[in-house]
């Protein structure tokens, strides 16, 4: 198998000193019979080796499409992919699948959302792991078997020898996700995409899987993009967070900065929709009103304005650019940022009017706890 341009670890054309991943203004549009869906609409970021980026957003925000688009896993037909993805300095966006195949599995790997559907039901687990070992590392049977065994132990699966000969349906969801992780890590990728890796799992298993991912990432000095809808998941596990809304990054900041000094009303809304342990029981969780916008005809102006309690006339007409905040590396898209004088003023104006400029009711009076439980 010839390894061209960006072949294996020793491949030419790549600069090991360059940033591991640099995404520049990537756009992913789907042509459908109803119009063009702008699922990802101009996203940029940089990721260093061994670092973790959290991508957070509601379902429909484009976060899953973003990760698949970067990796190049989307179908070609009716999909328009623009922008640049520099992997170790080489732009991989236009590369044909034949060349990307040398990168997939060996350099970049992905852990999918639902372990119930991401393992082949009719193939033994051992085969599913060794497949990429044969393909990329050209191992012989014995080596592949030993490596698979080691991988299964490293992801914390008991009795790995026996598991190799079992089928996915014989394992629990958590165990299956561990298998999926083992498959992803088989060839020692430098970049791991984890696409909502715990959404489909029991709450008790979620933390185990996340901790496992974090531990493996540290051990292997691997970069990771952790995609999730849950700010709580990324809070302690990422270096940076990009909040996505309607195909765009609306706030991007180092993790501690985002939580201490968020600027974007959407981030604030996301955060207040997570239950916290120190809340009194029956505290009413804030729900973001409305639905994510239609990506075929996105709203004019700020895409979050129709659901935002800060929204002013300006937000409905003018789309805010990505603005740099005072902290380096912190950017956001908002005319009336949270915590700023403009933002405070906008909020109090809407409070006085009882509604935002887009008609979202804005009240300050929290619902009595007794009522909230019933609503």
């Amino acid at each position: 198998m010839s390894r061209k341009v960006i072949g294996g670890p020793t491949g030419t054309g790549r600069d090991p000193n360059a940033k591991l991943l640099r995404v520049v203004d990537i756009k992913t549009h789907f042509r459908t019979e109803k119009g063009t869906v702008r699922a990802v609409d101009g996203v940029s970021f940089t990721l260093d080796r061994g670092r973790t980026l959290g991508v957070v957003g509601e379902s429909g925000s484009g976060k899953t499409i973003l990760s698949r688009s970067i990796m190049g896993l989307l179908p070609k037909r009716n999909v328009v992919r623009q922008g640049h993805v520099y992997y170790e300095g080489t732009d991989i966006i236009g590369l044909p699948d034949e060349e990307m195949r040398h990168v997939w599995g060996s350099e970049m790997a992905m852990v999918f959302q639902d372990p119930m559907t991401s393992l082949n039901p009719v193939k033994k687990i051992g085969k599913q792991i060794t497949e990429s070992l044969f393909l990329h590392l050209h191992m012989d049977k014995q080596d592949a078997h030993d490596t698979a065994l080691a991988l299964l132990s490293s992801v914390g699966i008991p009795e790995p020898e026996q598991r190799l000969n079992e089928y996915p349906h014989q394992l629990s969801g958590g165990m299956r996700q561990r298998v999926v992780i083992a498959i992803a890590l088989a060839c020692g990728p430098k970049l791991l995409f984890a696409d909502e890796p715990t959404t489909a799992l029991d709450v008790t298993v979620q933390a185990q899987i996340l901790n496992l991912l974090q531990q493996l990432q540290r051990e292997r000095h691997m970069a990771m993009i952790l995609v999730t809808h849950d700010l709580g998941v990324v809070a302690g596990r990422t270096d940076e967070i990009a909040v996505m809304y309607a195909g765009k990054v609306v706030e991007h900041a180092p993790t501690p900065v985002l939580f201490s000094n968020m600027k974007m009303p959407y981030t604030e809304a996301l955060l207040s929709s997570i239950p916290k342990l120190d809340y009194p029981s029956h505290t009413r969780l804030e729900v973001i009103p409305g639905r994510p916008p239609d990506l075929i005809n996105p709203p004019r102006g700020c895409r979050f304005a129709p659901r935002c309690k800060y929204a002013q006339e300006r937000c409905l007409n003018e789309e805010p650019p990505l603005i740099a905040a005072e902290t380096p590396g912190h950017m956001f898209r908002c005319w009336f940022p949270v915590g700023s004088p403009e933002g405070e003023e906008a909020l109090s104006r809407n409070l006085a009017a009882g509604a935002s400029a887009s008609g979202v009711p804005v009240t300050d009076v929290p619902m009595p706890a007794s009522l909230a439980g019933r609503s």
């Binding site: 869906v37 699922a39 994510p292």
Partner: protein
Amino acid sequence: MPEPSHRGAPVDAPGISSRPEIDAPAGGAREMLELTQLADREVEELQALHTLDPDQVPADAVKKRLGPLFWFAAGWFLLIVVLALAAPLMERAGFLPDPTKAVKCANPPCSKLGILKQGYLLGTDNLSRDIFSRIVWGARVSLLVGFSSIFFGLVLGGAIGVIAGFFKGKLETVLMALTDMFLAFPAILLALAIITFASTSNPGEEPRLSRQVAVILALTIVSVPPIARLVRASTLVFAQREFVLAARTLGASNLRIMVKEIVPNVLPPIFAFGIIGVAIAITAEGALAFLGLSLQPPNPTWGGMINDGQKFYLDAPHMVLVPCAVLFLTVLSLNLAGDRLREYFDIKESVL
């Protein structure tokens, strides 16, 4: 009988996620297919959101088209129907020679294309009979048998299906076991047995039924089990819907619910399948006629013409090829139309 896919084989293997539809849509739903193909859940969600906001979608973008193939098929079928209906008129007007009598033809079978007047359009057969005329009159048999047997099959099978799907329990088990038994037996043998026993008699006695009626009866009986299964499946879906519950809480009787609530909902998709059913019935009539069990000679039937023509391959291939082509095109057009309509209805249903 070679139309395996039509009989709606059940594909429920235990433990496998059963796929709702086993026949892939032939073409029209391809767009939908592509959509899901490029989609993760996420794009699907977007689509769903989009359909929820009809204001934002230009009306013409959502409207589903039946496509040119549908209209082509419908056109051919209409032509056959019009010719079949107009046959007596055309004969009286002198355009169509008697299909059972010889026309002028020096050396039969004649394969020359002649003018429409006095026949010969498609040549003549070995007995100097005008093939065009025989095709037109044969169409009357095919259409009559096809439509009436499916009509009665729909009434009977529909009733069984609705009752089985509505009442469930033991009644359903028994009814479905019966249909299973029928389905296990080759349909053509069953039809053949029915015709033999219904239309012939002991020596010296009058036939019980005319051939035509016997054929319709046989095909009706054969069509009941698959129709019953199909109707039962859709009834099961609708019987759990809110409007049925609502009617029941209003005190409607079972009969009233079945007639007023279930049947109108089950009908449109079944109608589309009914068209395909007519295609199958026409095929089956052709098979029976081919075996000499439909209308008796010298009356023309398409199947009979194919059988006759087989003896004259060398001299007059048109004798067999013409009825083959006509039957094929007619069945194809019905299948196409039915398939398109089925997709059309499915889409409408999903909007509901």
